[in-house]
């Protein structure tokens, strides 16, 4: 699934994104939290970065979801600059997404013209190009969702390896869920596609695909939920939910003044 024309698109898209990365003038409001998380993960390990007691508002677990800063922490070991690392992860995700979309279009329509048009529009979509040079997890999220979708399409087509591919889809969906919580919506869309839309597949296999994807997701989600309970004291489906249990002021009081957050429930 590659062509010379796609290679040209990828090269131009990479150059444009790198230019934007190295000329970027500022960051958005949440970026510093991802930057500090990246540095923490690089210096003290993944789990240390998942705890939330090292920057405002000192939630007991880090409200920033894991995947994006973790990928950046790998790049940080080379660059030594957390913001640059986050931008590079976004840029790499943005470029990888072009190939993934090309592969999706080839898989669905079997026409290179449609695949190249998809890749070209993705490569030069101006807002997405700019987002690919910014500290935004949405670009990495888009890559994970598109990749989950691609592996799902392979699952529908494969004759022997479909259980493995369904497993892979479930794992990628979990990674997406740990990038943005709304990734769960795509799991529903894929389930509906498998059960109701996909043509020429036996019912048993449709059910098995959904089951394997769900079990693969749960195999990682269950230990994660138990870790969240142990660390924060709350039942949460992911770290992002901690903000629904405590306000920023309550969590800051808990950390800096060592107070019981329940007693200060009316602070805000």
């Amino acid at each position: 699934m590659f062509s010379k024309k796609l290679a040209i698109i990828l090269v131009v898209a990479s150059v444009a994104r790198l230019w934007l990365v190295f000329t970027a003038a500022g960051i958005n409001s949440d970026a510093f939290k991802y930057a500090l998380t990246t540095e923490r993960m690089a210096e003290h390990g993944l789990v240390s970065g998942m705890r939330g007691d090292f920057f405002w508002p000192y939630y007991s677990v880090n409200r920033r979801l894991v995947v994006y800063p973790f990928l950046s922490s790998i790049v940080y070991r080379i660059t030594g600059d957390s913001i640059l690392s986050l931008r590079l992860v976004s840029a790499a995700s943005g470029v990888a997404l072009i190939w993934v979309l090309y592969a999706i279009a080839m898989e669905l329509f079997k026409q290179e013209k449609i695949a190249l048009l998809s890749a070209g529009l993705m490569a030069f979509h101006y807002e997405f190009m700019r987002a690919s040079a910014s500290v935004y997890r949405e670009v990495t999220m888009a890559l994970l969702l598109a990749f989950a979708f691609l592996t799902f399409l392979w699952t529908l087509r494969a004759k022997r390896t479909w259980p493995l591919l369904a497993l892979l889809t479930g794992l990628v969906l979990f990674a997406a869920f740990l990038t943005r919580p709304d990734g769960a919506a795509i799991a529903v869309a894929l389930g509906v596609t498998a059960l109701c839309v996909a043509p020429g597949i036996a019912w048993k296999r449709r059910m098995a695909i959904c089951l394997i994807m769900g079990l693969a997701f749960l195999a990682l989600e269950v230990p994660y939920v138990l870790w969240l309970k142990k660390t924060s004291g709350y039942w949460l489906v992911n770290q992002w939910q901690i903000q629904r249990k405590l306000t920023e002021v309550q969590s800051t009081r808990r950390f800096l003044l060592k107070e019981d957050p329940v007693r200060h429930a009316t602070v805000e």
Partner: protein, 240 residues
Amino acid sequence: MQLLSNLARQFEQIYDTVDVVCVAALVYLVARGWKHLKGHRFGVLALALPVLSYFLLFTFMAGSRVQERYYRPVLPFFVALSALGLHCLTEDIKNRKVVYGILGVIFVGLMVAGLREPVRAHRRPQTEAGLWLKNHDPDYKGFVLSNYSQPVFYAGMRHFDTIGTEELFLELLARGEPFKYMILDGEMDGKEAWAGQYVVEHDWPRIYYNQERDLRIHENPQCGEQTGRQGRQAPDGPLL
């Protein structure tokens, strides 16, 4: 009524995410897809379902709080559908030169729009203010009260938000927590208005000013007296 308002908000955000070129291509897909995409019903449906799932999720769960970037994760699906619209357009136009001309204008136009200015150019003053503060006081790593986190991050200090934190700030100050600087960016109103009033009432001198964003850095006079830094001339404006 609320649902209608939510729906309008979703369409507004989707339009901002997808951009005018893709929206036009999607309209063309709806108009001409039936003719050029026979036999591709599964492909079109499979691409539309993730978009639909996001649309329903945000309409019923996020409502008016949804932002344009929330739809970016499903942008690839929008783009693939838009590419189908462009495909239909190229099938309808028989002259290849006209087709290549249209595609060239679209792609070059998108590229120019994407590279028009540096990313987050409007935040440059915050980056500069943070770097100035770091240079001004490289040893301080403690709290800075600020309504934006960016300058504090670039200063290498610890951010403390201004929104609704007056009581907590005063309590921590009374317990001896050193808040050496306060950075105020733009108009302070609502839950953060207290910070602007506090620096005036307690005579925190302004040591840095940026006119473009009305960004001010104030220094705690007690800390300033200790370090002897109070009174240093700001590079971009007068001292108060």
